[in-house]
Amino acid sequence: METFLQGSICTGFIIAGLFFLRYWKETRDRLFLLFALAFLVLGLNRILLAVDAELQEDHHGLYLIRLAAFLLIIAAIVDKNLRPSRRRDDEPARGADRQVS
């Protein structure tokens, strides 16, 4: 069961990363590109943890990759909020232009 869940989680991260990549392609918003990168890194992290578990090695160092991905997401949100809005005043706000937090 645990192996099934780990595989599903890894696949889920990769699929979410691909979704964000598609959003970036449509909107050219850097936030989505950074989210895509972070989620793909999280998927890779799960693969490395699974391989490391097979080798019976101590893998707490691999959690630094997870930490880096989370920090990338935080940086993406902060970057989005610090960027000035690109839209003109007479245009309605699109989803990509709104502040994240």
Binding site: L67, F70, I77
Partner: protein, 86 residues
């Protein structure tokens, strides 16, 4: 060092969740809600990792830990697939 890494993973996941849910509260962009909920689940996953490896090493949480991440990703993917593009 190990405990610090696990604790930081939990803290950063929580920070992501808070920022995303605050963003949803301000903008009502649904993708932010689903992303925030995903990171709430990932926070629990990382918290359980910390409890499993550091606080209660004799108790094995390993069979339960992936469940939270699985639920979080399921919520995020549901939101991405079924919500209308905003």
């Amino acid at each position: 060092m190990t405990a610090l890494i696990y604790a930081l993973c939990t803290a950063t996941a929580l920070t992501c969740a808070v920022l995303l849910l605050r963003g949803y509260r301000n903008s009502r962009v649904r993708l932010l809600l689903w992303s925030g909920l995903c990171f709430c689940a990932l926070t629990l996953d990382n918290l359980l990792l910390f409890l499993d490896k550091i606080v209660w090493p004799l108790v094995d949480f390993a069979p339960w830990r992936p469940s939270f991440a699985f639920i979080g990703l399921a919520l995020l993917l549901y939101g991405m697939i079924w919500e209308k593009k905003n």
